[in-house]
């Protein structure tokens, strides 16, 4: 059994999982009278792939928004790197080092893949307006640095052939990959993926899974993902949180979750014989 102490544990394939990066304590989130998340607690560890699954409307995307800091829960506490999180302004949210992709792709259609990816570096730019306007001094240095980083990610995700293609012209699977690239180029400490495989065919799913694993392997990025495809979730993740109607009904390794009768009932809908 895994040692879930603060020191972390080692996975079967030899990856080191560190201590707790983020902890959710009794989170409740309401929209007016609707309770989206009801009293949920779980933690995320350094370097792990953590999945959140559940049927439609279970509150998964809301949970992701709580993790990113976009929503502030009415009750409960979010502890991020040893600090309790307070309500934040949007720019503060963006600067925490948490990057994400969206369920329905949010890229700039008219811009090239490269330009889209470069927008992910916006937080790493600090040159003055004047320098930027004349592409002078610091602005120039920064751009070279950012481009280098962007090219590294392009190479990593194997999208060299569409570097200069406007995003609007790309097929869905590639757009998803570009979105991942934009998130990665920000060098996030936590990467949030909202249904990275939705609407993909088997081959695209396999590619995407490989990239998620490679990202985790290569950069050690802590990854939280929401996904409907059970097969993908079970193969990819180290630990899984299962949600249903805003409540947590399971938490543990893929095997533990798979054999949890409550989960089987709620999510897989298999009858007990």
């Amino acid at each position: 059994m895994k040692d879930l102490s603060q020191d972390g544990y080692t996975t079967e394939d030899g990856r080191k999982i560190g201590g707790v990066v983020m902890e959710m304590r009794n989170i409740t989130l309401r929209f007016g009278g609707v309770v989206a998340i009801k009293d949920i607690s779980f933690d995320i560890r350094e370097g792990e792939i953590r999945a959140i699954i559940g049927p439609n409307g279970a509150g998964k995307s809301s949970m992701l928004n709580v993790i990113s800091g976009f929503y502030h829960p009415q009750e409960g506490e979010v502890w991020y790197r040893g600090e309790r999180r307070k309500p934040m302004k949007p720019y503060q949210v963006a600067r925490q080092g948490i990057a994400r992709t969206f369920q329905n792709i949010a890229l700039f259609d008219g811009m090239s893949v490269l330009d889209n990816i470069m927008t992910g570096r916006i937080n790493q730019m600090s040159a003055s307006f004047f320098d930027q306007a004349f592409w002078w001094g610091k602005a120039q240095r920064e751009e070279v640095e950012n481009r280098e980083k962007a090219e590294e990610i392009i190479d990593f995700l194997e999208i060299q052939h569409i570097r200069k293609t406007p995003v609007g012209r790309l097929p869905y699977g590639l757009k998803k990959r570009v979105e991942l690239a934009r998130a990665l180029v920000a060098e996030p400490s936590i990467l949030l993926l909202d249904e990275p495989m939705a609407g993909m065919n088997v081959e695209e799913k396999e590619d995407m899974s490989r990239f998620i694993l490679d990202v985790n392997d290569e950069f050690g990025t802590t990854t939280v993902l929401i996904e409907h495809d059970m097969g993908v979730v079970m193969d990819l993740s180290d630990r899984v949180v299962v949600m249903d109607y805003g409540q947590k009904i399971g938490d543990g390794t893929p095997d533990e979750v798979r054999n949890n009768p409550q989960v089987i009932d709620a999510y897989l809908g298999v009858s007990h014989d």
């Binding site: 394939d13 280098e148 590294e152």
Partner: protein
């Protein structure tokens, strides 16, 4: 031309040529690769340093004289360096096809007994590890791209950069040994071992000596006046003899620059950016390019389309003449210049062919229309005929004597002879040493005087001296009534239609000929889109009645054309079907160089062949397919079989002379 030999003073090996190049053009670019969006350049001096480090690293790992070092991966400078480094260390490089599945690789690795394997990335490493479970002799696996390999057991696995670093660190200790081994290389020592693609049976390891490679590279470079300022794009499989000759042999002989694309998908963009001056591509590449140009022109506006066709038609009549230096009227020249400015120049630029001085195609017959198209654009596209066993060159077309139906005159230093059965034999300085561990095949292919059988039937045109190839000698057969059967002749005619990707004709020993057809998904798919015909898969499109009508009209057109040739009029196709799957090298139906493996197809689709000859209107069939990751699956379909109209020969049927 007199049979030249590598005399005193000429470098005797590839590493010796490298040393000469460093001395002569040390600061000139030798390799370029696009990486991280930028073309990275290595000069001859820098490349030599990298090669030296790899060679020292290999010595440190324990490479022995005569070891075989397998090299697997896409075209990247580091892998080319690895091959030369292996030579320096006294070993023999054996490049393998990177898209081969593990089983195919296992045979070659076991046969050559490689202890060292140098790979490009994780994909190749995985395959080698899989092979290694059965073939235990592999001691070290070296990889270039570390991605995804972090968690692997590194007891036998090394990053190429680490190997180089170790080599550099051990420089003092090993430099002497390396210099000694390099000095031992002479003209007769083995330069490289290349495996044939294996149209029939298991692949054979062709041993080529330094003399073979250097002589051939020298002769062919001089034939086409290649110089150090030429640029090539290295994108064809490294395991193929052509790539070895172009990207290593000729590159080292003349000192030109080898450019490696960023990835397989960016080939076209990279081609445009580099603008090679010397270009080689199999007919398939030229066909695909032409198809895509034509499809895009169909989608263009009416004005552009008319302008395109107007100037292209003119260029087709004038362009080839201009290339061959024939006289062309002033008005025609003016019109061609105008077309060049408005249509042809921009088109060539888009194709990345603006700077091509010499272009070659080989491997298969090329359609006359395709050939003429590129010649019309003013691209000096020529044909050559060759084999691995000849270090590529047997015949090639000189400038000004280019025709689609011949393969040219014997290359410098090559002698050609046609034997009584019509089979082509050759003898040249490039003739291979032997098949590795296969004295029997060596003896049956190469006779005591050095004549090698090509396995192709052909004849030399009496008035021009050009060689014409009819077909594979063993595929040329007789039909039941004794008429000549040359399947490839008919297949090529079929394949010249953009809608037909591949065709296999049967009829040896039978009353009539029949055919399997593969449609070209790009061309037919575009047509379907234009006509609002919905389809979900290749299979569905291939079975569409309108597609069958189109293919039928193509087959009938071919029949009319075949009927005109008295000798081959028996090869008209009476019945055909469109296959439900694309013929694929992964299923063993094609070789890795995409040549049809007739026997295997005959066995695999026996039920369909029976149906073709039994007169049934349709046939249900199940076929096993292999996916890219090696898993197997089954597809089933009911195929419609159609009769095609044939033309009866006018004259009373004569028994064809051979």
């Amino acid at each position: 031309m007199a049979k030249a030999s590598v005399g005193a003073g000429t470098p005797a090996s590839i590493p010796a040529l490298l040393a000469r190049n460093v001395a002569q053009f040390g600061s000139k670019p030798a390799y370029r690769e696009k990486e991280f969006g930028i073309w990275q350049t290595w000069t001859w001096a820098e490349a030599a340093e990298e090669i030296n480090a790899i060679a020292l690293g290999l010595l440190a790992l324990g490479v022995e004289r005569g070891d075989h070092v397998a090299v697997i991966g896409r075209n990247r400078p580091a892998l080319y360096w690895s091959m030369v480094a292996a030579q320096k260390a006294g070993a023999v490089p054996v490049p393998l096809y990177q898209d081969a599945v593990a089983e195919e690789m296992a045979y070659v690795l076991e046969h050559c007994g490689a202890r060292f394997v140098i790979t490009g990335d994780q994909e190749q490493v995985d395959k080698v590890i899989e092979v290694q479970e059965k073939v235990h002799q592999i001691e070290h696996i070296i990889y270039q791209d570390a991605r995804g390999l972090r968690k692997y057991d590194h007891a036998k696995l090394h990053a190429l950069a680490d190997v180089q670093a170790e080599g550099r660190a051990a420089h003092e200790r090993l430099e002497g040994e390396l210099a000694a081994r390099e000095a031992e290389l002479h003209t007769d020592s083995t330069c490289v071992m290349l495996y044939t693609s294996g149209t029939t049976g298991k692949p054979k390891g062709v041993v080529l000596s330094n003399q073979n490679i250097i002589e051939t590279s020298k002769a062919s470079s001089e034939f086409d006046h290649l110089d150090p300022h030429d640029e090539v794009l290295a994108y064809l499989p490294m395991a193929w003899v052509g790539d070895f000759i172009f990207s290593i042999g000729q590159a080292y002989w003349t000192g030109f620059c080898v450019n490696c694309p960023e990835s397989a998908d960016t080939m076209m963009t990279d081609l445009r950016e580099i603008g090679p001056t010397y270009y080689f591509a199999p007919p398939r590449v030229f066909e695909n390019l032409l198809t895509s140009v034509m499809i895009r022109m169909e989608d263009a506006g009416a004005f552009k389309r008319r302008m395109f066709h107007y100037f292209l038609d003119h260029a087709k009549t004038v362009g080839p003449k201009l290339l061959d230096g024939e006289s062309v009227g002033g008005m025609d020249r003016l019109k061609y210049a105008l077309g060049n400015l408005m249509v042809i120049g921009p088109l060539k630029n888009t194709l990345g062919m603006s700077r091509i001085r010499v272009g070659y195609t080989a491997g298969e017959a090329i359609g006359p229309e395709i050939f003429d198209f590129y010649r019309a654009l003013g691209i000096n596209l020529k044909q050559l005929y060759g084999q691995t066993e000849a270090s590529v060159f047997i015949t090639q077309q000189p400038d000004n004597e280019v025709r689609p139906d011949t393969v040219g005159v014997p290359s410098p230093g090559v002698e050609i002879r046609i034997d009584d059965s019509g089979e082509v034999y050759y003898r040249s300085p490039g003739v291979f040493v032997e098949y590795y561990k296969n004295a029997e095949s060596t003896a049956s292919t190469k006779d005591a005087e050095g004549w090698v059988a090509t396995g192709d039937a052909g004849f030399i045109e009496p008035d021009t001296g050009h060689l014409r190839i009819i077909d594979r000698a063993k595929d040329v057969g007789k039909m039941a009534d004794g008429r000549l059967f040359a399947p490839k002749y008919v297949e090529n005619k079929l394949k010249f239609f953009p809608n037909i990707l591949e065709a296999v004709v049967f009829g040896s020993g039978r009353e009539t000929c029949t055919a399997f057809i593969n449609i070209d998904l790009t061309a037919v798919g575009n047509w379907a889109e234009r006509n609002n015909i919905a389809y979900a898969s290749y299979q569905e499109l291939a079975g569409h009645p309108q597609v069958l009508d189109t293919i039928q009209s193509h087959v009938e057109e071919v029949n009319r054309s075949v009927a005109q040739d008295e000798m081959l009029s028996g090869c008209q196709i009476h019945r055909f079907l469109v296959l439900h799957k694309e013929l694929d090298a992964d299923d063993g139906e094609l070789t890795r160089t995409r040549k049809v493996r007739r026997r295997i197809i005959e066995e695999k689709f026996q039920d369909l062949i029976d149906a073709l000859y039994s007169g049934k209107p349709e046939q249900y069939t199940e076929t096993e397919v292999t996916y890219e990751d090696g898993r197997k699956g089954k597809i089933s379909a009911t195929l419609e079989i159609r009769d095609a109209a044939t033309v009866s020969a006018q004259a009373p049927e004569k028994v064809a002379a051979e």
